[in-house]
Amino acid sequence: MIIEGGIVYDPINGVLGEEMDVSIEDGRVVEESRDGEKIDARGMLVLPGGVDAHAHIAGAKVNTGRIMRPEDGRRGTEARTKLLRPSTGYTVPNCYAIGYRYARLGYTCAFEAATPILEARHTHEELEEIPIVDKGALTLFGNNWEVLECVRDGDLEKLAAFVAWGLRASRGYGVKVVNPGGGEAWGFGGNVKGIDDPVPNFGVTAREIIRYLMRANEALRLPHSVHLHTNNLGKPGNYETTLATLRAVEDIASSRDRQVLHVTHMQFSAYGGTGWRDFESKAPEISDYFNKHDQFTMDMGQLIFGSATTMTADAPLEYGNARLLKAKWSNHDIELEESSGVVPLVYGRKNPINAIQWAIGLELALLTEDPWQMIMTTDHPNGGPFVNYPEVVALLMSRSKREKELATLHDLASKRSSLPSIEREMDWNEVAIVTRAGPARILGLAEKGHLGVGADGDVSIYDVNPEKVDPSKEHEEVKAALAGAKYTIKGGEVVVRDGEVVAVPQGRTYWVDASVPEDAEARVKADLVEKFAKYYSIQMSNYMVQDAYVTRPRVIRAGVI
């Protein structure tokens, strides 16, 4: 296949809006293709396929969201066609809709952001049913008893062996840490108040948990860094916790050519104020810190007005949400590993808190100077559903759109944030970074996010001419073009044409197989045998994700030997 004459942005290979051809053969980008298939992309924007590094798209809590929200299911119904299975849902779409909607946006890869090992089989059962996109899942480690014990005992080698085992057991891709220590404390109705508050029964602190897991992550040379949801997330004044967390790990070095820590959905962790009354943005402080520390990355967690379904392993946070909003609430105890919660809510333009939160996400993206440190996300569906990505991109590219939106919001959005004064408008190169090249590099996916020879043949083509359309003024046009790709090409196959899904291949599932010394592995196994005998509700043999659950694996090797 040859994609002819498009205007290509490929930041990883230094291509900045050049008119050029892209050739794909056998699913990969090549110098020259001979199969004769041609796609006319003249006058159109050509980008590597989009990569979503953080979304909640598969597993137990997503399904709980669906069960809790019949009204959401009815919102997105599309009947089946000869090719497509039926779609349902807006914030919590069914599996098919997730794949189709990503493809229509020009996304070809999406990672589920939080899977407890105990529920990883469910996650993979759903990932298998998500069509088209490649995917992976991050595994939760931040409240796992084995982790807490290794940290307490100062046993880094055993911790690394357990992380390797946990990734294999869950067929997981990376180390996710959510409110470290807080999830365990929630088992007793408590939480931790900051990074130095000891976890009940273990005596360790979030500071120690994060540091140890980062060191284990780097010892194993995992493709992705630790992926952190901070303590005190969602609370006024939490930016201090966020900055304290980052300062606590400044001395740790990355083992690979990538960040040493990814802080996720930063919007929820960049709050000032002593309570909701004086709630304000501290995005400038956070971005300022990032501008001086290039070893850290973040994603936005942008808020979208309207319906959202919050779902997280941060169970005490969800308890607070449910009480505050008198909303439906699901709470879940995941045995020795985590706790979790789900609360549906509606973000309102005239709600002062929501309006400020909306501004914070944009401030973070625009004040963080290096786009390689930033990923565009909505923490789907916590900040809002991923189908709104074109809206977010349009906001990043157009100050006039931001002003227009600000005028419809509670005026505290302008008074308690710096957004009105921000002039920056992202260009197409920066957009290509924050939606593709950056997330691929941050996840450590070598064959994603670019169009160099050997890259996956994943390309999105949008009917917008970067040489003619001024995104600053014509933001509506930009948004419309991004919402329905002219073409989405996945592995060299056209899957979307004119915004409609025309082919439904099955994507691959990334997971990381990290090797560790045998004796360390044996010590972990001994601990686990005891834990399963004493505490778990299931047998270890029913716990591991078997190969049958991951039918098209893409295994990335890592480890210490």
Partner: protein, 259 residues
């Protein structure tokens, strides 16, 4: 009065989704147009005339002046009268799940038994069943925070489990027994059960449940006093205290076990 009579042409093996059988939809249509209305039988789209014999008045009439008479076995026909606002549906036979979903006015008279989810999330109007009704009468769909919000359901026979689940308003009266957990999660409205009930009012926040027969009462209900209503003595309870509820439960006889 515009009258339309519908009879099944055959037995149905898979459910028919017939939300189009409603006075609001029939009102402006001729019989020929009604025959051409689309419904789903399982996963196949068909017209009403593929499944039913349809006869009656051709002239349009306001919805309130419409009567639809369904005669035969409609036990696999779902969603009859969904979202109707006025008019009358008379069913001479059994009716399937979700009859009167979300209706806000008018009347459904069922001379037979009703399936599950009768009057789900209904807001007004009246449903009468001469026989029994299935599970989730007047309930909300799973995950919905409010079931029935208004109107009236009268079941002369017995009802299944989860009667009036998440009831937020309106009245449900059952002549016979109710199954497990009638009035679970209630936030308003009134339920009267002529016979017996098992664990009524779990997690209720407000509203009233009256059990004229015997009830097994949850330990999280507080017995307040004995009251007399229409010559019957009832134990009055407050609950559900696990949810700090202010609901009222009246039981003529309390089953032993637990309390």
């Amino acid at each position: 009065m515009k009258k339309v009579i519908i009879k099944p042409l055959r037995e149905f093996w898979v459910p028919v989704e017939a939300e189009r059988i409603s006075p609001d939809i029939f009102a402006p249509l001729s019989i020929e147009e009604i025959r051409r209305l689309e419904v789903w039988e399982g996963n196949r789209k068909v017209t009403l005339s593929d499944l039913f014999m349809i006869s009656g008045d051709d002239e349009p009439a306001p919805p309130g002046d419409n009567e639809i008479v369904l005669s035969g076995d409609f036990s696999r026909v779902k969603r009859i009268g969904e979202k109707m606002t006025s008019g009358t549906i008379v069913i001479k036979g059994d009716v399937g799940m979700h009859a009167g979903n979300g209706m806000s006015g008018g009347e459904i008279l069922i001379d037979g038994n009703a399936g599950d989810w009768l009057g789900r999330e209904m807001q007004g109007g009246k449903i009468t069943v001469s026989g029994d009704a299935g599970e989730y009468v007047g309930a909300g769909y799973r995950g919905e925070s409010c079931g029935m919000r208004g109107g009236e359901i009268l079941v002369e026979g017995s009802a299944g489990d989860y009667l009036g689940e998440h009831l937020c308003g309106g009245t449900i009266t059952v002549g016979g027994d109710a199954g497990d957990f009638p009035g679970i999660g209630n936030r308003g409205g009134a339920i009267v059960i002529g016979g017996n009930a098992h664990l009524p009012g779990a997690e209720m926040a407000s509203g009233t449940i009256t059990v004229r027969g015997r009830a097994r009462v949850l330990p999280s209900f507080q017995r307040l006093e004995t009251v007399e209503i229409d010559g019957i003595r009832f134990d009055k309870f407050l609950g559900d205290l696990v949810d700090d509820g202010k609901g009222e439960l009246f039981a003529a006889s309390v089953e032993d076990g637990g309390r």
